[in-house]
């Protein structure tokens, strides 16, 4: 993983975008993938089916190759886009495309406000939405999109924030040379 954890840091929650978002991205590819199957089925059901279907087979293969590669690019972008809550930090890896990603991280004790948003018909039915985390860190606001059960995740972040705020601060004492 691109994120390195501190020693003793415990992962509490790991969440990806809702599966429905992935399905909606893949749906156009599935539509194009069905077209050659319909074409071949239609030809086979005719009274005089064609014997040599070389050229359509060739271009169907080309179509499937492009669709297969596109599917895996979409899947990689979906699967590598991940939100991680540890007992010390919140980390959000936003994979925008194959060559563009943003990794945001903030310590839990710097979290100021957390809000969850479920907007739209499908997000309401399937219970997924966005989470916005206001922090006192350099990264002022985290926007975590299309997370399943945003209310539960929000409560979990707040609970871990309270636990982190209650915990005594770690003090490191180093001796100066010559003292």
């Amino acid at each position: 993983m691109i994120v390195s954890f501190e020693t003793g840091e415990r992962i509490i929650l790991k969440a990806r975008r809702h599966w429905f978002v992935f399905v909606m991205q893949v749906l156009p590819l599935a539509f194009f993938a069905i077209l050659p199957i319909i074409l071949f089925a239609w030809d086979a059901l005719r009274e005089n089916p064609s014997s040599g279907a070389s050229l359509p087979l060739f271009f169907s293969g080309l179509l499937y190759l492009v669709l297969w590669i596109l599917f895996f690019i979409v899947w990689t972008n979906y699967y590598f886009d991940v939100f991680i809550l540890t007992d010390r930090r919140i980390i959000y890896i936003s994979q925008k495309s194959l060559f563009s990603r943003r990794i945001s991280s903030s310590r839990l004790d710097r979290v100021q406000d957390v809000s969850a948003e479920v907007s739209g018909m499908m997000p309401t039915f399937l219970n997924y939405g966005n989470i916005y985390v206001q922090t006192a860190a350099e990264e002022k606001e985290f926007a975590i999109h299309d997370i399943p059960n945003p209310d539960i995740v929000k409560d979990r972040i707040l609970a871990e924030h309270s636990a982190a705020a209650r915990a005594p601060a770690e003090v490191i004492i180093t001796e100066k040379k010559g003292e």
Partner: protein, 78 residues
């Protein structure tokens, strides 16, 4: 009686030039496309997904699909 038009009919002789000159070129381009994108995806999976994905199963499924479609193209060229 003339045969009804069929999308899946065998290539007429006039199209043989197309079949023998352009199709292998397209096939080689597809092969290059597959090689480039396989390398890019493999790089991402190794670099960023070391502990996230099961490289062996994802790689096997991906390669199976690529080889299947390249095989379709190859047999379509015959």
């Amino acid at each position: 009686m003339q045969e009804p038009f069929s999308l899946l009919a065998p290539l007429p002789p006039a199209a043989s030039l197309f079949a023998f000159s352009i199709l292998p070129g397209v096939f080689l381009l597809a092969l290059a496309l597959a090689a480039v994108f396989s390398a890019v995806l493999a790089y991402h999976w190794v670099r960023y997904g070391k502990n996230i994905i099961n490289m062996k199963s994802v790689g096997t499924i991906y390669l199976a699909g690529v080889l299947f479609s390249l095989g379709m193209m190859f047999f379509g060229m015959q």
